[in-house]
């Protein structure tokens, strides 16, 4: 007889970052018996690492700002691939969600007249990000954590959910294990909310923590739910590149928002060469205008240093490829020569500390060396905009694990607001569903099979090391599925993925079930490999360059592709990929976005001058 701890809830929320906490708070407030389950200790989720701020059109700094401008920025930043309804709800509701955090004790930086201060960020027309220095994620997660604890929500920490249970076409619960003891745990649940974040740990250079192994995406796929846009991965343009051990650690966009500028090894502010036509009307084309914009947004256009992240990451990649990079393969990010030391220390204390402690660089005196890092996945589980419902009954998804909101590229600051807006909506809808739904029935045979699979790495006869396989996967994704992709490399990646999958099936872990990271990784590897495959296959299907997906062999955005999602689902054990039309934007919203489409060639690092200004 298998030893499985049993629980029964109306709503089980998997993941306790911003989206999971917000979902659990809402589900609980709506009367659902709610469990919050997370892989790490409470308060350590990836949200804690968010730096720059929460995008919300509060209009505290620029009274011209409103949800319509935020909606427009989000859609254009996403290269129009966004689910318009999600972008609309997000823009409309994020101010309310931010103010709600203040009601729960959050203390944002203040304007001179005592309101929430907002800072500039990439792709946002106005200073829009509510923030606390450069540690906004910490403030957000602690506020939500304290709220959830005060409400008395049941929290299962260091508890990994491994599989969803499905009965008669709807979710009936989930099964996993306690990390501390290795004991199996099963939840019977009327509804499950996935809030598990992304899959950054499939890449070598990433800003993501160990938890980002694509769990929710893999579980949803396995349970029969649809994924969309899995090829859309975001490389944040600025991360530390040196020393090697810190390569990939994020350097907030707030550095540029607060006046920092990118330079190549010739001291040239190269972003002026990479302004795409799609953003030309909104972007300054002289250094003088770019610098004046920080103070006066009415008569100047935004600095190209704050183009959306996909544009900046590609530009950095191209500069480095052209031999204009730094000694360690990055470019320079200079705020030292542009802002006073006390301003830098006050606005960017974590960055100051991080560079000082880890790289012996004083950012008030010297430029930073930065380069792109895998930061986020826009693709993920397909959801209904209003309810966050997936295509599987009883299953909801919010935050990075869900897709649609950000289209082909996410704007900085739109993630934290996404977590709040759709976390709340998911919690609400899951609680509603649980009220209507009958008690779940656990399929004991299914549960038993999953329980055996979880224990399998102790019993296999192979001798593969899970850490080595993860390292090899990271090399594969970094090398072949990076910022710039091409058919032959993606096909090679698929071949390697199959080999890695075979090796992963031969992992044998030593030791006991008590807090055994080798065992945990052996299980996480299956998710990493499964989700990586979905990314690669989707990247092969989309034969154009748009947002976070750049094809060297198809270097232009194709208006036809701009109307399509790549849908991935698992049927009879195999991945099935199809394209489906994205929902059409209603006329009154289309008018806000404008009629032009991204069309030109993007910077793949080939000797093509984008924007023609050289």
């Amino acid at each position: 007889m298998r030893d499985i701890e049993r629980h029964q809830y109306d709503v089980v929320v998997v993941g306790a970052g911003g989206a999971g906490l917000r979902a659990a708070i809402e589900a609980h407030a709506n009367g659902a018996k709610t469990a919050l389950v997370c892989k790490s200790l409470l308060g350590k989720a990836h949200t804690v690492m968010a730096e720059g701020g929460i995008a919300a059109a509060l209009a505290n700094v620029w009274k011209e700002d409103n949800w319509k401008v935020h909606f427009r920025d989000t859609m254009r930043g996403g290269k129009l691939l966004n689910n318009w309804r999600m972008a609309q709800l997000h823009a409309q509701e994020s101010p309310e969600r931010v103010l709600e955090l203040e009601e729960w004790g959050a203390l944002f930086d203040r304007t001179k007249d005592g309101l929430i201060l907002q800072r500039d960020f990439g792709g946002h027309r106005y200073a829009r990000l509510a923030h606390v220095g450069d540690r906004t994620g910490l403030e957000m997660i602690r506020t939500l954590q304290n709220r959830a604890v005060a409400q008395g929500i049941d929290v299962f920490m260091e508890c990994t959910v491994r599989h969803l249970l499905v009965d008669a076409g709807r979710v009936s619960g989930a099964v996993g294990y306690w990390r501390q003891t290795g004991r199996l745990i099963a939840f019977a649940a009327k509804a499950v909310v996935l809030a598990t974040g992304g899959v950054g740990k499939a890449w070598k250079v990433t800003s993501n923590s160990w938890e980002y192994t694509g769990d929710g995406i893999a579980m949803a796929l396995d349970a029969g739910a649809d994924l969309i846009d899995m090829e859309m991965t975001q490389f944040h343009p600025t991360a530390m590149v040196w020393p090697l051990s810190v390569r990939g650690i994020l350097v907030t966009e707030g550095v540029r928002g607060d006046g920092g500028t990118l330079k190549n090894n010739k001291g040239e502010r190269f972003m002026f060469k990479y302004i795409p036509d799609f953003f030309r009307a909104d972007t300054a084309d002289t250094e003088r205008e770019a610098d004046a914009w920080y103070e006066d947004k009415r008569s100047n256009r935004r600095t190209p240093d704050l183009l959306p992240r996909d544009e900046v990451a590609r530009a950095i990649n191209a500069e480095v490829k052209a031999g204009r990079g730094t000694e360690h393969g990055g470019v320079f990010l200079d705020i030292a020569s542009r802002r006073p030391a006390d301003y830098i220390q006050r606005r960017l204390p974590s960055m100051y500390h991080q560079f000082k402690e880890l790289a012996d660089v004083d950012i008030t005196k010297e430029a930073m060396e930065v380069g792109p890092t895998l930061h986020y996945i826009m693709g993920g589980v397909r959801v209904d905009a209003d309810t966050a419902a997936t295509t599987l009954d009883g299953l909801y998804a919010a935050g990075e694990v869900a897709a649609g909101m950000h289209g082909a590229n996410r704007l900085g600051g739109n993630s934290l607001s996404d977590l709040l807006v759709f976390g709340r909506r998911a919690g609400l809808a899951a609680a509603d569903y649980a009220k209507r739904g009958a008690a779940p029935r656990i399929d004991e045979a299914q549960l038993g099979a999953y329980a055996d699979a979880i224990a399998a790495p102790f019993q296999r006869s192979g001798n593969e090391n899970p850490y080595q396989i993860q390292a090899d996967l990271q090399d594969t994704m970094q090398e072949l599925v990076g910022i710039i992709r091409t058919k032959s490399e993606l096909e090679e990646a698929l071949v390697r993925i199959e080999r890695l999958r075979a090796r992963a099936a031969r992992v044998r872990v030593p030791g006991t079930r008590v807090y055994n990271p080798g065992w945990h990784l052996a299980l996480d590897l299956e998710n990493l490999i499964g989700v990586s495959e979905a990314v690669i296959r989707s990247a092969l299907v989309r034969t154009e360059s748009r947002g976070g997906h750049t094809r060297e062999d198809y270097p232009k955005a194709d208006p036809e592709w701009g109307t399509k999602n790549v849908v991935t689902r698992r049927r009879a054990g195999r991945l099935e990929l199809v394209t489906e039309a994205i929902p059409g934007v209603p006329n009154e919203l289309q008018a806000l976005i404008g009629e032009d489409k991204p069309a030109g060639q993007v910077a793949t690092g080939e000797p093509v001058v984008i924007g023609g200004k050289e």
């Binding site: 790490s40 200790l41 308060g43 350590k44 989720a45 990836h46 804690v48 690492m49 103010l99 203040e102 004790g105 203390l107 930086d109 203040r110 007249d113 005592g114 309101l115 606390v132 220095g133 540690r135 994620g137 910490l138 602690r142 304290n146 709220r147 604890v149 005060a150 409400q151 008395g152 920490m157 501390q180 923590s209 160990w210 938890e211 020393p243 090697l244 051990s245 810190v246 650690i249 974590s350 500390h353 991080q354 402690e357 880890l358 790289a359 090391n465 899970p466 850490y467 080595q468 390292a471 872990v509 030593p510 030791g511 006991t512 008590v514 807090y515 055994n516 990271p517 080798g518 065992w519």
Partner: protein, 261 residues
């Protein structure tokens, strides 16, 4: 590097050698040991950038975040030991049972804001939030808890003493410009503020440089003393408090009576 391996029944230091690279931190070495020699070596970590407070341990006996402790801080050939934080019970290797902290967190009466301004806004000025923002920098690494003598060497004090982390939290709430909840009596009776004899060990180990003793604990002590021993303040508080304080969701009774503040 010598890493403590074991569980609650006991353990020992085990020596490992792995290749080194410039710029490495202690956590990098631990990860290399895991990958090459000890796949089941238990360690907590998340952000690897000093932001999440997961990878607390004692390196050569000093409580630190492993992700922010560079190998270049040690002399060539110097013996380096890594052991779990001492104040909390070991689960395995470098992982300890820190549930003490999550239980204490449940006993803190929540934030309770005053009404909004007449125009529907919340107006607070930067100079009014500065000192509370300092407390909000806490990443809950619990190194201050680890180093605090009241619980590091006295298991018996744990039920009646919440520790520096929670004095910071309580100070953040008490000094929040909008908060109206009253926790001073609880701080004295249940959280055991009086045990602290301000040796500042907590302040010294705080990776976020929060002035725990000077800015949180001492002002709290002053508030508690004023409230408890000043008869006028006491009477006023009694009147004001009626119908105002909302207690924490669950309040397990502690048997030990802490000394007065």
């Amino acid at each position: 590097m010598k890493v403590w391996r074991g569980d609650r029944t006991g353990g020992e230091f085990v020596e490992y050698a792995v290749p080194s690279d410039p710029g490495m931190v202690v956590l990098d070495v631990i990860h290399r040991i895991q990958a090459a020699h000890a796949p089941d070596l238990a360690v907590r970590w998340n952000c690897k950038a000093g932001k999440c407070g997961s990878c607390s341990a004692e390196v050569n006996g000093h409580p630190v975040l492993m992700c922010m402790t560079r190998m270049s801080e040690f002399r060539g050939g110097e013996e380096i030991t890594v052991s779990p934080v001492k104040t909390f019970p070991v689960i395995k290797d470098l992982v300890t049972d820190v549930s003490f902290n999550f239980e204490k967190a449940k006993q803190i009466p929540p934030f309770k804001p005053k009404p909004k301004e007449p125009d529907g806004t919340r107006r607070m000025y930067q100079e009014d939030v500065d000192r509370v923002q300092e407390f909000h920098k806490c990443i809950e690494c619990f190194l201050c808890q680890d180093v605090c003598h009241v619980i590091r060497d006295h298991e018996e004090n744990k039920p009646s003493f919440s520790g520096p982390r929670f004095f910071v939290r309580l100070a953040a709430l008490e000094m929040h410009p909008l908060d109206t909840n009253d926790r001073l009596e609880l701080i004295r009776l249940k959280h055991g503020l009086g045990y602290c004899n301000i040796t500042k060990c907590c302040t010294e180990v705080c990776p976020e440089d929060i002035h725990i003793t000077d800015n949180a604990i001492i002002p709290l002590k002053e508030r508690v003393v004023t409230a408890h021993y000043d008869p006028v303040a006491w009477a006023l508080r009694r009147i004001r408090r009626t119908g105002q304080a909302s207690p924490a969701p669950s309040e397990p009774q502690s048997k030990a009576q802490p000394p007065s503040a």
